[in-house]
Symmetry: C2
Subunit: 137 residues, 2 copies
């Protein structure tokens, strides 16, 4: 399915600015507002930062993008996908998605807390393979 249809499915008009936002999100995986704004400026020099905020906010509200809150960092945004964890490198800030088998800890959590669980956010910090190999040299 193409970006235009995906946007429309979420009641979002497919403006050129939005199409480019989706494209950047898709290509970068995860990006913060400022970097997104800088990227967008290439194609739309007259673009206003307010428009980026408005769009990211409505896209968040329409469950089309999600915000990833990372300890000690500005939030990143990504296109909404199935639930997954994030692992981020404290050296180079690269970030990747990983899909973990969480049912066991969720059972534990439900047992311990007696909450009805709806969502889980897992952010793991560490050193990525690339930085690890550089450290060893």
């Amino acid at each position: 399915m193409n970006y235009i249809t995906k946007l429309q499915n979420h009641d979002l008009k497919a403006t050129p600015q939005r199409l480019e936002i989706v494209d950047i999100l898709y290509k970068s995986g995860h990006i913060n507002i400022d970097d997104l704004y800088v990227s967008l400026k290439n194609k739309f020099p007259s673009l206003s930062l307010a428009t980026v905020y408005k769009n990211i906010n409505t896209m968040r509200d329409r469950v089309f993008v999600s915000e990833v809150k990372i300890p000690n960092k500005k939030s990143l945004y990504e296109l909404k996908k199935d639930e997954h964890a994030h692992i981020i490198c404290t050296k180079c800030n690269s970030i990747m998605d990983i899909t973990l088998q969480t049912s066991e800890i969720l059972d534990q959590a439900e047992e311990l807390s007696r909450y009805k669980i709806e969502q889980t956010a897992i952010i793991i910090s560490g050193i990525c393979p690339k930085c690890l190999s550089q450290t060893m040299q």
Copy 2:
């Protein structure tokens, strides 16, 4: 060990304001800056919000408090303890600590990502038992 010694162990002078911050953090478990400021104002009417920020920031830097970033919420602060997950009620915003057996998913994460893991932040959202029972009525 008392608060004074604990502060001093982290190279923090035990001012009355700080002692009260620690006491509020201890009693509340988790609190955001604004609520903390309001609480502190009771005892220190002349207290400035800047002082609260400065203190929370230095306490964070000295690894005496930690920041908990929650999806769609302002950050909360808590006294530093052993690593643990947080579970938060999307209805009433109550939050509790839970200690989960995370070794399995961390093994998975390490296997999948090849990262060297340093830290894990797990925030679970759901409905707390109290709100659950109210919903059913």
